[in-house]
């Protein structure tokens, strides 16, 4: 599998250099792998820090900026960042008093590394709270697993908690809002092809023509189940169905129809039409819809759907201005 890279070893560093050049409004520390808002630390403002393996762009680095994250810590491709990165980000992004909120996708590696970073930051006298994102309904019997994965809902948590933090809400409240968003969110993803990591150089699994993987995560792992290829409409029925089996929204929802990276926008918009059809058939009201590449898995073809129930307050925070490379409106 060909890639537009120099060598596998420098992929993340190269991308950070390119990000620095494209986004002078961010401070990109290529050596220490931390991306920080240029205006940080903002006095009295809770700092939001997230991070995770690279390969999911624009998540997380592309969501740093006013109205969203204070800082992001990119690991190697599909590899959680190390604690030093988050500790450094906390020191750089945080106003000593207000504290920092870690937004952590629920993977063993992410949890362990952020926990260790929290210890380091607390040693420096920084107050740390944490929101764990675990929205993926494809992981069912979570008693016998590492629990549900964090996927598309991460965007909702980062955006909505980010808006609350930018309004000056205190740490406990920003944390509570982040948790509420996560609890209100569910995702389901499918793959039409595997992705290729730079380190491996070939697809992470074999998917014959005529088959698809249902219930995939965002790290090139196979899903829960392999089936004969389905139409866009059938995939929407299955994906939205899996979500609604697990949650019955009483309030309107935010809808994220997300490409895993390799599925073009033309197909993705068509898939959105089917997702909206299923939602309307199931009586779910839609408040806002976002269609695009947001939480990707390198070049994987496929898509995921995330729904997030919102009350008026969460919707207000969703609509609040945001100015990041990956998500921008109102400023």
């Amino acid at each position: 599998m060909k890639m537009l890279i120099n060598v596998a070893e420098t992929v993340v560093a190269d991308a950070l250099r390119g990000m620095a050049a494209a986004h002078p409004e961010l401070v990109v520390d290529v050596d220490h792998r931390v991306i920080v808002r240029r205006d940080a630390p903002v006095e009295g403002k809770v700092a939001l820090i997230s991070g995770g393996g690279s390969g999911h762009e624009p998540l997380h680095g592309g969501f740093v900026g006013p109205g969203m994250l204070s800082a992001a810590c990119p690991g190697e491709v599909f590899t959680s960042p190390v604690p030093d990165q988050m500790a450094r980000a906390a020191a750089a992004a945080v106003d000593s008093g207000a504290g920092v909120l870690f937004i952590v996708k629920n993977y063993t590696g992410d949890v362990l590394n952020f926990d260790m970073a929290a210890e380091l930051a607390e040693d420096e006298g920084i107050q740390v709270a944490k929101v764990l994102v675990n929205d993926d309904v494809a992981v069912t019997d979570s008693l016998y697993t590492a629990g549900r994965r964090g996927t598309g809902a991460t965007l909702f948590v980062e955006k909505i908690a980010g808006a609350a933090a930018d309004e000056g809400q205190p740490l406990g409240q920003v944390e509570a809002i982040g948790r509420q968003v996560n609890e209100n969110s569910r995702s389901f993803g499918v793959a039409l092809s595997a992705c290729t990591t730079p380190a491996k150089g070939s697809p992470t699994f074999d998917l014959p023509p005529g088959e698809l993987e249902l219930g995939i995560g965002i790290h090139g792992e196979p899903g829960r189940e392999r089936r004969a290829m389905m139409t866009s409409g059938e995939i929407a029925d299955f994906s939205v169905g899996a979500i609604l089996d697990d949650m019955t929204p009483r309030n309107p929802v935010l809808v994220l129809v997300n490409s895993m990276g390799g599925t073009p926008l033309l197909e993705l918009y068509g898939f959105n039409a089917e997702v909206q059809r299923v939602l309307s058939e199931r009586g779910v009201a839609v408040a806002r819809t976002l269609v695009g590449n947001y939480v990707t898995s390198l070049d994987m073809a496929g898509a995921s759907v995330t729904l997030c129930q919102v009350d008026e307050e969460l919707l207000r925070l969703w609509d609040a201005p945001v100015k990041t490379p990956g998500l921008r409106w109102g400023m």
Partner: protein, 199 residues
């Protein structure tokens, strides 16, 4: 008795065998993981050997705590904190003695493995590195070669298991039939003890 030089040789031998086996570890991490285990450990053990050169720690405990610290700050993923904790806790348990007996090392390594189980929450049979580390520690009283055999057997025995920890667990029953990459790298770590001992 095992001195600081022995533990340095252990780390160097591990680094060398991780280099040799990196592609295989990443390949094992493909069908039931995210295809990074080999490159993760390579990055970590390169840092460890470089830092051991630079800082030149003088006691067994210092060698292992330094190694563990650098694994934590360079590997990332699940295996970084877990292997880092393994070596750091083992090192801490060794205290600041200039030399330790094989029995003292076995006891310290058991403390390290216990710390990994506490941190990661995995028990034997969950299809993780624990499945080769626990039998290795149990066999350590019979010598490094016995520990190595036990670790390798433990790694092979992960194949029929269904994963209950780590990202292989997301696959449910589809994780059955694949050898766990972390159990495989643990077997390399234990095997490197025999190399360090010149056995």
């Amino acid at each position: 008795m095992l001195d600081a030089a022995f533990f340095r040789r252990w780390m160097t031998a591990t680094a060398a065998s991780v280099d040799r086996e990196a592609e295989r570890l990443t390949a094992l991490d493909s069908p039931i993981g995210d295809a990074d285990h080999g490159s993760n450990l390579q990055r970590g053990f390169h840092a460890v050997t470089a830092e051991l050169e630079k800082e030149d720690p003088q006691t067994p405990g210092a060698v292992l705590t330094l190694a563990g610290r650098h694994l934590i700050s360079t590997v990332g993923g699940a295996s970084g904190p877990l292997y880092g904790t393994l070596l750091r806790r083992t090192g801490k348990a060794l205290g600041d003695a200039g030399e330790v007996s094989e029995a003292e090392f076995a006891q310290a390594l058991r403390a390290g493995v216990d710390a990994v189980m506490t941190l990661g929450g995995a028990a034997p049979g969950d299809k993780t590195m624990i499945d080769s580390l626990v039998p290795a520690v149990d066999a350590l009283s019979d010598g490094f070669t016995a520990a190595r055999a036990a670790a390798e057997e433990g790694a092979l025995a992960t194949t029929p298991l269904q994963a209950r920890k780590g990202r292989a667990s997301y696959l449910g029953e589809r994780s059955i039939g694949h050898q766990d990459p972390g159990a495989t790298s643990s077997a390399l770590l234990i095997a490197a003890l025999t190399e360090a001992a010149g056995e």
